[in-house]
Point group: C2
Chain length 162, copies 2
Amino acid sequence: MEEISEKKKAIFESALKLVQKCGFHGTPMSMIAKNANVAAGTLYLYFESKDELLTALFNYNKKKVETAVDQYLNDETSYKEQFFKIWLHLYKFYITNTEVLKYFEQYINSPYNVERNPLHFRGKLYEFLDKGIKNNQFFMSRTEMLRINPKSWGVVISSIDS
Amino acid sequence: MEEISEKKKAIFESALKLVQKCGFHGTPMSMIAKNANVAAGTLYLYFESKDELLTALFNYNKKKVETAVDQYLNDETSYKEQFFKIWLHLYKFYITNTEVLKYFEQYINSPYNVERNPLHFRGKLYEFLDKGIKNNQFFMSRTEMLRINPKSWGVVISSIDS
DNA sequence: GTGGAGTGAATGAACGTTCAGTCATAAAGC
DNA sequence: GCTTTATGACTGAACGTTCATTCACTCCAC
């Protein structure tokens, strides 16, 4: 995780809290600024535009999640064990950072999300799931469902276990 | 399903298509009007405000889904059989009406959604799932996951089957 | 001719963005 | 050490645009 200035962090925190509550359209830049104790103009020293701010906030938190999870991806333990560990930590992360998950859901279903991809459609986690699917680790007909929503994983776990 | 005027239907169709593509903020009333071949003012003969239009559109489509599914809820067949049938028809509905599902996802994660409830948290379908949970029809630890997303149901089905 | 449906230009508020100006601190000159 | 000059982060009022909403008007069925 690259280090970011305190001010930028304050802006991120302010935006996360507000957008999660009021939505993208419902949170003017002036409000983000006020809540972060900076002037409106300051936002534009750190970000090119509102769009860029909101996209940066998404990527910032996405990276946070990824680093919280990627450490459990290794070939030293069984696939099943890795799967459980990752799910557990993803679950924990989202439970303790509900505002992050809420922001993700807002962002993903908004026009800001240009890629139009679900949350974990890139990176190591994606590769891990993909490998599992190819190696028949999952017993289900429509494996693409795995990548829909971390919340669904609980169901998958029962499936694997039975 | 109560009958609605052709004009209202045209407005709904226009809004559905545009919002799904451009998002709530990205679709001005003027655009909805133009796309429906009516004047901007006409929208206000049928709806009180933009908010009301978008909420009405949500409820309109929700009712559509519900009537498409509720007919399969009856006590004449086994729980399992009902579950399969409902899932199949929900799935079919969303596959043939992708823009409806996309609109739902946008709406549910927007500040317009005052109830802050997932999609099928009310009505007969909810009661059906609730009954199944209480009667131990599902073998999983976190049954509330059932109500998250119709797409996840495929996973649940494998779970029931195994 | 009256009533009601429909129109679309006009209105005004909200908001993203800009930029001239402030101020604290650092560097340079004496 | 003290004064002057330069720097650039930061500010917030002002600007221009975008849009939801309105309303004076037209059109048409009866």
